[in-house]
């Protein structure tokens, strides 16, 4: 009897399992997820780019993978997931999703529908980038997410955002985790990177299939434009291709999009909130002889001092940077230690102006703390209930914020003196 039990038990154990077993080819891996407003009020439109298997070659000849797009709509995100599953025989999984794009309209309406789904999702990695589409739908961004060099749309987008933040300071690497953190936190507002579609004329090719520069066409199909253009003759107008740019930031008030900032405003934002790494600024003044001087900013340090006096707060922001001038010799700018002092002051005042401007914009147009000053403010409270009872939003709106920017060094990017021409 015991022997029978000892044989049956392991056998039952071995053959009874495997509820979670799925072969790799049973899965369809979602690469990018896009969320827009649905056709019906309150509904969501879910678009996903799915990695098409069998299209990656490791034997030398580079085969570009395909990323077909699937779309569904549902009353909730889970409803949309379910309806999407009905479109394919494979099991869709979001465990390798790298980017979530949210359409501008949905962002303006509010992201309440996403919070709970994202928080509870075991598949979605909370380190994946969340971004807002600027002026277009997320679906259009997905269709245009093709890099000229990088064949993987998700990698292209995530690297684009990361690089734009790291090298230009014009974006911000925000992920689901930071989204949820800001959503839950007291006195903190959500900030997400902005993705914009820029149109560029594509150079015609003999095949007429509309490529970008370089000739490596991504296999994925965009909206009808490319196909339509491809069917045309070389004498017709060159097909227009759109590519994605990470150009700025979307500032939220609560869960609704309040303000979009781009370019220098985005860089100023990063300078204020402490997420700046490198960036560029162009100054023009008496110190530059009336010419534009471009500087690369780096070695960023920030110091925040926050003082609270009852319901009001005072913030002192000190920023230190180093600059590296580009094209100084061509511009004839004096970057010797004696001459660079004026440049430093010029740069410092410009940055101060930019940062003060973005702070004012946040106080007036957003009305909430997008800079995470609340992290410094909560240290002035003794207990948590006191902190929770404090109206931080109002205090931020009425806060007196002083900015001091000091450029500690300007390095010449090129020689400070032009070479004398020959005899």
């Amino acid at each position: 009897m015991l022997a029978l039990l000892l044989v049956l038990a392991p056998t039952a154990f071995l053959v009874g399992g495997c509820w979670d077993l799925r072969e790799l080819d049973d899965w369809a891996f979602v690469s990018i997820m896009g969320l827009d407003k649905g056709a019906q009020p309150g509904w969501l439109r879910l678009s996903v780019l799915v990695q098409q298997p069998g299209s990656v070659s490791g034997t030398g000849g580079r085969v570009v993978p395909a990323f077909p797009r699937l779309t569904s709509e549902g009353a909730t995100l889970y409803d949309a997931y379910r309806r999407l599953e009905e479109l394919t025989g494979d099991y869709l999984t979001y465990s390798h999703t790298q980017v979530v794009v949210i359409g501008e309209e949905l962002a303006k309406e509010g992201l309440q529908a996403l919070v709970d789904s994202f928080r509870r999702s075991r598949e979605l990695q909370h380190t994946i980038i969340m971004a807002v589409a600027d002026g277009v739908t997320a679906e259009e961004v997905l269709d245009s997410a093709r890099g000229d060099i990088d064949p993987f749309p998700a990698t292209y987008l995530s690297h684009l955002v990361a690089k734009t933040q790291a090298e230009y300071g014009a974006s911000s690497h925000r992920c689901i985790h930071t989204f949820l953190l800001a959503e839950a936190a007291h006195g903190q507002e959500i900030v997400l990177p902005l993705l914009r579609l820029a149109q560029k004329p594509a150079s015609p090719s003999p095949s007429g299939s509309g490529t970008g520069s370089g000739g490596g066409s991504a296999g994925g199909k965009s909206g009808g434009e490319q196909a339509a253009a491809g069917a045309g003759t070389p004498e017709q107008a060159a097909p227009v291709e759109r590519r994605v740019e990470a150009t700025g930031l979307a500032l939220f008030r609560g869960l609704r999009l309040a303000v979009k900032i781009t370019g220098e405003q985005a860089m100023a934002f990063n300078l204020v909130c402490g997420q700046f790494n490198r960036g560029r600024v162009v100054v023009n003044g008496a110190a530059t002889g009336g010419k534009d001087l471009s500087l690369e900013l780096s070695h960023y340090e920030r110091e925040v001092k926050l003082a609270r006096n009852g319901p009001s707060i005072e913030v002192k922001l000190k920023v230190r940077l180093k600059g590296s001038a580009e094209g100084a010799s061509a511009a004839g700018v004096d970057l010797t230690p004696q001459g660079s002092g004026a440049i430093k002051d010029l740069v410092g005042s410009k940055l101060t102006e930019m940062m003060s401007g973005i702070i004012t914009l946040a106080q007036t147009q957003v009305g909430g703390d997008v800079f995470d000053f609340q992290l410094h403010g909560r240290g002035t409270f003794r207990t948590w209930p006191e902190w929770m009872a404090y109206d931080w939003d109002r205090a931020f709106r009425e806060a007196k914020v002083s900015v001091e920017v000091k450029v500690t060094e300007i390095r010449p990017g090129l020689a400070t003196q032009t070479q004398e021409s020959g005899p």
Binding site: L2, F13, L14, G17, C18, D20, L21, R22, E23, L24, D25, W27, F29, Q51, P53, G54, S55, V56, S57, G58, P65, T93, S95, H96, Q98, E123, Q125, F152, A154, T155
Partner: protein
Amino acid sequence: MTSLWKRLRSIFTHPKRDLEAVQFSLGDRDPRQTSAAPPELRKPPDPDGADKGEPIPEDLDKAVERLAAILHYPLSQDLVFREITLPTRPTARARVIYYEGLAESRRVEREIIEPLMRFPLTNKTPKDRLPDVFLESILPSGSSRRAQSMEQLVTGITLGEAAILIETGVACLADVKEPPSRAPEPPITERTTRGPQMAFVESHRTNSAMIRRFVHDPDLVLEGYEVGRRQKTPVALLYISDIANPKLVAEVRQRVRSLDVDGITAIGILEQLIEDHPVSLIPTMLNTERPDRAALHLLQGSVVLLSDGTPRCLIAPVTFSTFLHSTEDVYQRYPYANFLRVVRLLASFVALLAPAIYIATLNYHSEMLPHLLLLTLESARQTIALPLVVSVVIMEVAFELVREAGVRVPAAIAPTIGIVGALLIGDMAVRANFVSPATIIVVAATGLANFAVPDQAASFAIRIGRFIFIALAGVLGFLGIALGFYVLATHLAGLRSFGVPFLAPIGPWRPGSADVILRDPYWRQELRPSFLRPLDLFRLTRRSRAWDPGLESAPSRPESGGQEKTAGDEQERGE
């Protein structure tokens, strides 16, 4: 209810199943207690009714007749009964009995028959002095001795000695054995780049001589026993008497001599008969073919067992780290040795868990893979018809087939088997869409890692365990692997090797010189493994590099050389 309780009790507390009913432990008493005198030999019953102490008949013919009956002469045609007439006055007859092939015929002629034929004896020699006269003056063989009983005669003859019977009631045995043997050759399975290139041979005397070549210590004791009623296989127990714990020696001795079997043809049988956990996959004795390794373990306080007829020896006790060590570790400088040990440790994990982790990751937890790797693996698996678990099992079985065939294949076509194996496993399987290239890589890496495990028994355990983990991974993914590993670790924690916990010195923690996974430089390894409870805990002093003024001068061993207690002695002990 009472009967249920009794039934449960009987299931879970049977002495054989009670894992905590330790039969033997080295204990926590002072290990320096001296051992008592060895107990009396326990002679196994004599075959064919030759009782212990059956006297040898004084009548030559009766003695010869009795021997012929016991040894089945003339049925056994390799038995030689050589009749000689001694040049005595009056003449006396003698018989020389030996097995042709076991005893060297030339030595029999030169050392026994010729001296007997030429040496004159008179009847004035007292009869009771005759054996002594023969042994002292006639037989030049160094190991000649007097036979006291029929049993001794029979045993000696079967071991290759020559029996000499003279009609005056003299019975002697002369050691002229020259069994089929070979010269020591380089090791086959435990090769090293540095160190001696000698392995054991079938003769246990030669083997013990090889060990003595490394350990020139007069305290190296070799106790000899004969195991088996029929075979009477000589078994030698070696230990260094002022290092090895007497309780350990006594326990090994007792186990060997309590065996009641027909005989042991190889030392592997002896291992199965005396090891603590014969059913476990995990070996608890080390089986090695290297005499230098045996010598190293003797110097640590272990005991070594040799068996005639097997070119290997057994070493006990051992712990888990022993199976990750190679003799090479001692001969290499310690950074290289540690590097190799880390490689071996990784190899052990890879060999045991790589296919299981591969299956669990791809089938259950694909989110753990990096994105690009996932894309590549997914693409490769699109055209594979078989489920991943089946693919892996097929390839593992194929690998085992090739490995097993390789053991028996004639040397002339061994390269062919290698090519066939490579083709079979690799290229054809991929082309036929049985498996993906990634599976081939995993299986091949697993196989290579298995070969990196220094001990063959441990390697076997890993091979079998691998299939268990594949099954667990196929059913429960990572949870199955983790729980399986936990069960394995629990099992290891419950094992003992001659009283020493298998996970010592980590679990339980025992102080000592670092030599578990990584080792200290040799000149810093002052202590012998304290879990062996050696009589002398120190093997060198801190001044072992006395010429080097950079090392601290205060010795940890007292100058008197007495056996002082170490800090470890004050710790809790008892396992």
